[in-house]
Symmetry: none
Subunit: 413 residues, 2 copies
């Protein structure tokens, strides 16, 4: 099974957009046991796209096209492919219903070009778009399968994960299955993780171990090539044990769509504990991150953003003398913020964040210096961190460190 990926969009050829869709689809197809032989990018130009389609049709069994399904005239992927394979375009009933609903809810008038987004090949299969309006299309010609996906990653990813993947698995069952498992780590860098697991990664061929670095975390994808699921799970279990023996202290959870905040919210729910926060440099980002998780309201009632010194005094009732003596970037300030936030809101735990996001230093302390306080019924402690890179990375690092601190505290409870 040979596959290739064609991204359509002049903005990619101008260097304005990185072709991360090809990366994502490649990773997903590898999971399905489908090998990708080529990526191509072509601009919004019908002749060049058609010529590329012809080449792809001749050399591949599956052609995945990304982009060019939107409402405007430069969105031409659907028209060009339809013409190339000789298919008429018809309206997809379910897609049209969603489109109408969208404009009714948004109380906006629908312009007629939007209808282009819900056209499907007459013998094709429409893929619903859960996060946008343009439907996807799967079509099997006598020689080649075509999968058309929307360009925005926020639409392409859920469409592929929730619809495309199952469809390809059904249409192209591979003798060898790839079964994979994602392990998530916080608190260890990619190079360190790979160094500690070097022997394992080199010797190991089934399952393979692929590290992947994300901002402030690392995931390992274990992929076993097997004929049945049970032997796959056994292989994965064995490798996972060997990995966790080396770096288990940094492991926090499983799964591609998992996150540190999801693990923390679940733990809080299980332990029936409530949390609050007082945030200075993170300015609400810790609380907003908790509330990313649906069901957060069971464990989080509210908290404080105390960006300036005056609001640490006013909203959190911290003694101005303490702030004058130790400064706001201090253990004492972090502890007072956490303790007072916990008391005022009446939560089981309170986190506090105070430090230097940058770009310039504060109270003589360098960018990246962050104190995180954690107050519980029995004690209050503060922890000092030195984060690196830019303002936004320092703030994200602080939020992740706070989540991990809370996770470890809850696990030790």
């Amino acid at each position: 099974m040979k596959a290739e990926i064609i991204a359509v969009g002049t903005e990619i050829l101008l260097g304005q957009v990185v072709n991360t869709n090809a990366t994502f689809i490649s990773e997903e197809l590898a999971d399905l046991g489908i090998e990708v032989y080529y990526h191509s990018v072509v601009g919004d130009n019908p002749e060049r796209l058609e010529s590329l389609l012809k080449t792809a049709d001749n050399r591949s069994d599956l052609v995945v096209l990304c982009g060019g399904l939107g409402p405007t005239t430069d969105d031409l992927t659907k028209d060009v492919v339809a013409k190339y394979v000789g298919q008429n375009l018809v309206e997809d009933v379910a897609g049209r219903k969603e489109l109408d609903l969208f404009f009714t809810r948004a109380k906006r008038k629908m312009t007629s070009n939007n209808l282009r987004q819900v056209l499907v090949f007459e013998d094709g299969i429409a893929l619903p778009n859960e996060t946008g309006l343009a439907i996807g299309i799967f079509y099997q010609s006598s020689t080649t399968a075509f999968l058309l996906l929307p360009g925005p990653p926020s639409e392409l990813r859920p469409m592929f994960l929730h619809h495309g993947k199952a469809l390809l698995t059904e249409k192209f069952p591979q003798a060898d299955k790839l079964i994979s498992r994602v392990l998530r780590f916080y608190g260890i860098g990619e190079s360190q993780l790979v160094t500690q697991l070097a022997d394992l990664i080199e010797e190991q061929t089934n399952p393979t171990i692929a590290p992947y670095a994300k901002p402030n975390e690392v995931t390992l994808r274990l992929t076993a090539k097997v004929q049945d699921e049970i032997s796959g799970i056994k292989l994965l279990d064995k490798t996972e044990s060997a990995i966790l023996e080396e770096v288990g202290e940094y492991f926090y959870g499983y799964g591609e769509e998992n996150s540190l905040e999801a693990v923390v919210v679940k733990l809080l729910q299980e332990k029936k504990c409530r949390v609050t926060a007082a945030e200075s440099l993170t300015a609400g980002q810790f609380q907003a991150t908790l509330a990313n998780v649906s069901g957060a309201s069971a464990i989080f009632a509210g908290g404080f953003v105390t960006y300036a010194k005056e609001q640490k005094e006013q909203l959190l009732q911290i003694d101005p003398a303490l702030l004058d003596e130790y400064g706001v970037v201090s253990e004492e300030c972090a502890k007072a913020m956490a303790q007072n936030a916990r008391t005022i809101v009446g939560a089981d735990y309170a986190l506090s964040f105070t430090g230097v996001a940058g770009p310039t230093e504060l109270e003589g302390q360098p960018v990246g210096t962050v104190w995180i306080g954690l107050a519980s019924e029995t004690e209050v402690k503060a922890y000092l961190y030195h984060f690196t890179r830019n303002r936004s990375y320092v703030r994200h690092s602080a939020v992740m460190a706070g989540l991990d601190l809370l996770r470890r505290t809850l696990l030790a409870k």
Copy 2:
């Protein structure tokens, strides 16, 4: 002048590495006035690379190849291209000197495969590698120019910037430069924007107008092809005026790296106004977004996250009777939140956010229903929105709507 970019590397086809080299080279070539028509990626496979080279040679004047210049056997780009254009490989004297120096300094014995890295085409030009060992190569055949660059971005970028760029400018002086400008819009969908500008976009060839949708905003990139910068700016100004005549009410700023929050923070600084917020469904995201902008501390001291009803009562001192009578998803609640937050913190403006993020409805109101309150010294108003899609999109939409509300209020001041 037609160019294309070929990246060589199986790791890209497996989705382990993102092809950022193509993005970088595209941007740089656009700057030089050289148009890129295709990107391709092929694995470490000589037959497939050769077939791609043939296609590229036929359709392009310049082919930039990235990757596969290293010392190992799967680094095959140089051999395949040399064979394709019929060139012998000879040692580059300067490259060899650097290579020897490297191993002498590192006190390591050089393995013989390293010599492959300093081979150049007999009629080619070697490009020095300031941050690695593999030299680059420029070669002009009777029809096509080939530029071979190393794969690691840390080597490719300096090599292109310090050597490749000057070489291409000298070999291919372009009469025309590309000058571009990005206009940013909030509050209008891509399809609506394009409909309103349909005539302009269709008729306009210089500058071209390219729309691009991002979450909750749309940008238009105007690109003029000109011989000098002054006439380019004139062309861009003229087209910009025509665009703003149609959709100027949604325009909020210029530039690829600009944002609604940056514009709002700048306006607040200019007007010497301070803002606070009380956030329910957004749970701190509005305040964290403001604090994305460096310098936010001048206009933002702090605020509230009041996720649960009890914290609206406690932290914001809202009368429980009001919440019981109208509910938390109500105009009255949004107004009380904004008004009380403004009074408590002592800011010039206060925003409030209350609504239904989902996944389930609240107080009988559907997911996406959001009230945003805005309190100033003279008045307090609340605005009703119906956002769509998922939890995270509803919350992001609310933050963006709040920013725009504040922006318009400040502009009207």
